[in-house]
Symmetry: C2
Subunit: 446 residues, 2 copies
């Protein structure tokens, strides 16, 4: 455990330089070594977790812990094995850094390239969930970043045991130990949020309150989302059978997830058929439905009237709002006013309606005829995710390896100076676009 | 001129939805119309500018205005024509939005695409420089963004005349008038910086003080740079002739530019030859040289000793720091401590040294054997730029059209639900990567 968070951040900054020059295979080898070490340290990690769990159970008895939190805290041997397998998979993924995404020959011998590179130093603040720690470390290192991890006090013993394994693993690799640091205590959070010079990206993993606290207390970019208020819009041209199945899946399959829906909006033309049908299907699955006036009229006693605040509420539970809209414009306007830019879905067979919805709705995910529950790094094929971001700029949506790199412009010449390009007799730029192979580095100095 | 900045921002948010659904040709046509209108309104714009200039000259006489600011304020007919030509070129550029940069078939009929899309609403704060206004509006609209522009009071009449032309042009196009708004007064800046819900990106164009004020007073992402402290590192394996030419160009060619150098670092192995040579060449061009102890020793009276604060100073003038470093590690560490992540250059014939420098140095531009003065949107071939960003994340470096788009994930299915993929008997994801044509939209609903 790092005693001084600011010193750990400064050391991570230096370590990030070493990481930036390591080739992808060396970083992959370090991540792979972590997977092995987690298994070698399994007894110690599970034993430490048992102590955390025992403490948590006393807290539960005293009303200071929720059953959900207690469940997330658990790190059984089986869970650890699947975590180690996930780390191994991250090691095996293609290197996201060093890709040339733009290449322009500015003039003879003067080559401009945009190259992906690590973001630098990540600060991750995790509540409970010790299983998230190895995954985050793996993603950070695979992409070439140093990482400072502040773990929750309820998982202190488990986190320390995991970090003992991580540092044991790094010992035999090219990655310096200071590239991964474990921090503890609230003061560490304050220190990290103020370390603008040494931290490039803050990733809060926990409650909406944690995310809001982080967002309100730092000038460093924050990756995350405080809210997941997702909507399903059932268009006039919807296949209502699909709409019904998607509404049920998006609400019921895992209501606590951020990508589950909180509101269903139904086009007035299909409301008479769809509202009773979806209310019936949801009530059968014990979902409480809160409707606007039109929905209440169509579904009678099965729907209770929604309060104004309900449309801005993330229930995370078996409750859903149901509204009838006169047209898609009203649905898009409702989503703009009440959504959280996470994931928004339309059900329709009308291609023009689908195109308008996906163009106009401002969210990280815009879905057509599919459940919002697909918004997830694993399901997207990213292998793993450090979180889901509802910001407008990169990284947006579920963030895997590609989200943990940025880019720099690399210009290679042979003594080129700007003065030669100035004035009437000056040289003219070629600006010839070269095709880029997104997976290989370009050539060096000519 | 918009009277209420918050109302203008809310209207811009709505207009951004219209822009997001327009096709690229419609946006290009609107930008092209602006070029035409600027020429039609040329008399009015030049006349308005004459009034601003007259007022500025009185201010200059009263010591309230600098000659440089006065010069930037001027909008002659010739300048306006070249501005209009620049706007026309932006209209002719390829559409940066609607490109599919990742496509994965998650399962039969379930297609995930990452599609570039407009950022949304931009707030641009410009000091003086009325010529920047049409260019910024052109870049914003071409990329599909609404834009709120706060112009400086010294350019008030010119700005109003330009906006009369812009709104005249938009009148006959698919772009709503509320997509482009002119704001005035300090309160407008405060309002914009607080409009988190309706503004997605703030772009300060002006002094370092302006940029720092903006960065310190908003939670909205800021595109820009307060400082341009660029370095030139002359490696032990440098071609010293090239190094000399680059040092002179990067300092002398336009010392006020943010991409000119403030410090030259010389490897000790070549210092005995290079230090006297570069000092001679710079002194000949009236550059004051401030050196560390080693440089002073090697160059004698021609160099005055640098104070500690000099290494953190952006002179923007014919002054340069000169230091001798024992090795490249020291140069990289110096740049990490004193640089501003703008543009950093190495001169070397050693490919390994070049690779280490470009990998390890954390800056938007990392240059090999070329002057830092090439760091510019026009020279990069971007056609134009709204500014240069020293942040770590997108948009980074000189920002043209590609920097004014972000991305969203579009998922298209035919009724897919997550419940089908859960548990032992569940469906498995295909995760088949499809090749993406970066310039075309994908197909629609199946």
């Amino acid at each position: 455990v790092a005693a001084d968070p600011r010193a750990a951040a400064a050391a991570a900054r230096v370590a990030a330089r070493t990481l930036a020059r390591l080739d992808g295979d060396a970083r992959a080898a370090a991540v792979d070594a972590i997977a092995g070490a987690l298994l070698r340290h399994a007894d110690a990690i599970v034993a430490a977790n048992a102590l955390d769990l025992a403490a948590a159970r006393s807290q539960l008895a005293a009303g200071l812990m929720t059953p959900a939190l207690l469940q997330r805290l658990e790190m059984s041997r089986g869970k650890l094995e699947s975590v180690a397998e996930g780390v191994r998979q991250v090691a095996a993924m293609p290197d996201p850094a060093g890709r040339v995404t733009l290449a322009t020959l500015l003039d003879d011998g003067l080559l401009l390239e945009r190259v992906t590179c690590p973001v630098g130093v990540l600060a991750v603040i995790v509540e409970a969930r010790p299983d998230a720690l190895p995954q985050i470390v793996a993603l950070a290192l695979r992409a070439g970043n140093a990482v400072l991890l502040k773990a929750g006090s309820e998982a202190q013993r488990t986190s320390r045991a995991i970090f003992a394994a991580v540092h044991d693993a790094l010992d035999g690799t090219a990655v310096p130990a200071s590239a991964v640091a474990l921090l503890e205590g609230r003061e560490a959070v304050t220190a990290l949020l103020g370390a603008e010079r040494d931290v490039d990206l803050v990733i809060p993993r926990g409650s909406a309150d944690l995310v809001r606290h982080v967002q309100a207390n730092t000038r460093i970019p924050v990756l995350g989302h405080a809210d997941g208020r997702c909507h399903l819009y059932v268009d006039r041209a919807a296949d209502l059978g699909r709409a019904l199945a998607i509404a049920v899946d998006a609400k019921v399959q895992y209501p606590a997830a951020c990508n589950s829906i909180e509101t269903v909006l139904v086009h007035a033309d299909v409301a008479a058929v769809f509202v009773p049908a979806v209310v019936g299907a949801l009530r059968e699955r014990k979902v409480e439905v809160r409707g606007d006036a039109a929905a209440c009229r169509l579904a009678g006693d099965l729907v209770r009237p929604a309060a104004a605040a309900d449309w801005d509420t993330e229930y995370g539970d078996l409750i859903v709002n149901l509204g009838v809209v006169p047209d898609m414009d009203a649905a898009i306007a409702h989503i703009a006013a009440h959504g959280s830019r996470h994931t928004e879905a339309i059900v329709t067979t009308d291609e023009a309606a689908a195109a308008r919805f996906t163009d106009e709705v401002d969210a990280a995910g815009v879905f057509v005829n599919a459940s919002t529950r697909f918004a997830d790094g694993f399901r997207y094929g990213f292998g793993a995710e450090v979180g889901i971001s509802t910001g407008k700029l990169h990284p947006r949506g579920p963030v895997g390896l590609d989200g943990l790199v940025t880019y720099k412009y690399r210009l290679t010449g042979n003594g080129h100076v700007v003065a030669d390009y100035v004035g009437r007799g000056g040289r003219k730029f070629l600006h010839r676009t070269l095709t880029t192979d997104l997976t290989t580095e370009s050539t060096g100095i000519r």
